[in-house]
C-alpha cells in the first residue's frame, strides 16, 4: 500500500477564525517558539554586522514554520473534493510463516497442568521431578527431557 495524499496547491492567502484545538495550539506554540529561537540564534550571529540583514533571519526561520505547519494537515485535515472521492480502504498485509509442525514441537500453552492430562509433545518450564525409586541421575535426566521436550504417549 503506497498511497499518499498531499496538498499540491500552495496557500497564498489565509485567515483564521475560532479557537484552535489544544494539540494544534501546542504545535503552533512550538512552531512560533521555533521561529523565535531561530530568529534569536540567527540574530546573535548577525549582531556584528547586521540589522539590515534581518530579512535573511526571517527567510532562514520560515522553513521551520513551514515544516511544522505541514504536519498539521497530515491527519485530521480540512475536507476537500479529492478526499471526498476516495474510498474508505482497509488494507491488510500478512507475513507468512513456515509450515507449522505442532506434533513435533507443540504450541504455546503456559499453564500448570498434570502431565497425564496431555498427550503427544510436551515441554515444561523449570520442571521438577521426583520419584522414590529413581536415582538423582535419573531424576535429572527426566527433568532434562521435560525441559527439552518429550512425548507423553
Amino acid at each position: 500500500m503506497s498511497r499518499y495524499t498531499g496538498l499540491i496547491g500552495a496557500d497564498l492567502s489565509a485567515y483564521y477564525t475560532g479557537e484552535p484545538k489544544s494539540g494544534v495550539k501546542e504545535m503552533l506554540k512550538d512552531t512560533l517558539s521555533g521561529i523565535g529561537n531561530d530568529i534569536v540564534d540567527k540574530g546573535r550571529s548577525l549582531l556584528s554586522s547586521v540589522v539590515s540583514g534581518a530579512s535573511d533571519v526571517i527567510n532562514a526561520a520560515l522553513p521551520t514554520a513551514t515544516a511544522a505547519l505541514a504536519q498539521l494537515s497530515y491527519s485530521g485535515s480540512v475536507g476537500n473534493f479529492t478526499s471526498a472521492q476516495e474510498d474508505v480502504q482497509l488494507t491488510a498485509k500478512f507475513q507468512l510463516i513456515s509450515e507449522m509442525t505442532p506434533e513435533k514441537r507443540g504450541s504455546p500453552c503456559y499453564r500448570n497442568l498434570v502431565i497425564n492430562t496431555l498427550s503427544g509433545f510436551v515441554m515444561c518450564e523449570n520442571p521438577t521431578f521426583r520419584a522414590t525409586s529413581a536415582t538423582s541421575i535419573e531424576e535429572s535426566a527426566v527433568e532434562a527431557f521435560m525441559s527439552g521436550g518429550f512425548y507423553y504417549e
Binding site: 500500500m1 498511497r3 495524499t5 492567502s13 489565509a14 530568529i39 534569536v40 540574530g43 549582531l47 547586521v50 534581518a54 526571517i58 491527519s75 485530521g76 485535515s77 480540512v78 475536507g79 476537500n80 479529492t82 478526499s83 471526498a84 472521492q85 476516495e86 474510498d87 474508505v88 482497509l90 488494507t91 491488510a92 498485509k93 500478512f94 507475513q95 507468512l96 510463516i97 513456515s98 507449522m100 506434533e103 504450541s107 504455546p108 500453552c109 503456559y110 499453564r111 500448570n112 497442568l113 502431565i115 496431555l118 503427544g120 510436551v122 515441554m123 515444561c124 521438577t128 521431578f129 520419584a131 529413581a134 536415582t135 535419573e138 527426566v142 521435560m146 521436550g149 512425548y151 507423553y152
Partner: protein, 383 residues
Amino acid sequence: MIQVTLWAFDKRRNSTKQPSTAGTVFEGELKSAFSISGFELKLNLTNQLIAPIYNYAYVESFRRYYFITDWYYDSGFWYAVLAVDVLASYKTEIGGSTQFISRAYSNYNPLIIDASYPTTGEVSRSGDFITPASFWGANPTEANGLIVIGVVGASASGIGAVTYYAMSMSVFNAFMNSMLSSIAWANISTTEISEELQKALINPTQYITFCKWFPIDAGSFTQGTATSSLALGWWTFSLSGNARVLNTVGSAWVLRSNEMDIPKHPQHIGRGLFTEFSPYSTYMLKFLPFGVFEIDSTELAEKDTLGIQVSCNLMTGDAVLHLSAKKITDASYNWASPFLVAEAQIGVPLPIGQVSANMGNFKNALIAGAVSGVDAIASKFAG
C-alpha cells in the same frame, strides 16, 4: 542369572512409550560389577553369527526399561549393551506430576504468539473498501453534495446571529445567481440611488458567514425544518427549491456508519490464530480527510468486521471518526469505547466573499518586527 524381556520396538528416545506386546523372555548373565543405569548382559540367544533383532528390554528385577544401544559377539555368546530409558521407566510418576507446561500438542493457547516459526519472507495482502456513495449516501460530486451556508439575516431560527441553511448545489447556485445578477431585490428606487451605486454600496455576500460542501446526499437530507425562502441581511430571497433550516445544534449533527470485513491471515485458523497479531498481520485504514491509520492488530484479532462511525456537525464541518470491531455473532459495536477516535473537517470550504491576505505583507511585518527584536537584543548586548 537375570530374567530380561526383549522387544524389537520402535520408539523415540524422548518418549514415555512402553511396549504393548508381551515380548520374549530370556535368561541373561550380568557382569560381576554393573550400574543400574547401564550395563552389559550376556545372552544365550544363539551360537550362530546372526545379529539379534531386539533393541529394547525390560528387567523386572530392576523395574526399569532399557534401550539396547549395541550388540557384540564374543566366544559364542551375544552381549547386549543396555542404557536405561528413564521416560518409560517412570512414565507413571511423570504423568502424575504437575508441571508448568510451556508447549504442548494437545493443550495450547492459540492467542499466544508462537515465535518458534520463522516468517518466510512471503507477503500476502488483502483488503476491503467502502465507496463514498455507500458511506455517505451520495456520489461525491459537488452536484450531489449538500451545501450548508450560514447567513446573517432576520430569522428567529438562528444560532446566535447566523441562520444555517442546508440545500442542494442547484438551489444554492440559483440563490447566488438571483443575488448577484441583479440588485432589484434590494428594492431601492433607482431615482434615489442609481443601480450602479447600489451595487457598489451593497455587498450581499458579506452576510454569508459560512459556506461548506458536504459529501451528503442533499435529496435525502431531511434534518431541520423545510423552507423555501432565505433571510439575508435586511432582505428575503425566494429559493428555487426547498432548503432545510438547521435551527438547533442537534439538527446539524449527521451520523453515518458502515462496516468492512476484516481480512484474515491465510494461516490464522486453529493453532495459527496468533498470526492475526502484529508482526504477522498489519492493518492500515485510509479514510480521508481523517488520514491514514495503522490499526493495532490486537483490536481486530478474533473479530470479523470493522465498524466505522462518523458524526459530523454541519454548522462547523467538524467530524469525529470512531472505529470499533466486533465478531459476527455480536449484536452491535461498542461505540461507547471505540479503539480509535480521530477528528477532521469533513466540510469542504467554498469561498464566497473576498477574504485575502498578502504573504509579502506578513513577511514585511515579520521583518520589521525582527529588526526591532534584533535592535533590542543588540542594545542589551551593548548595554
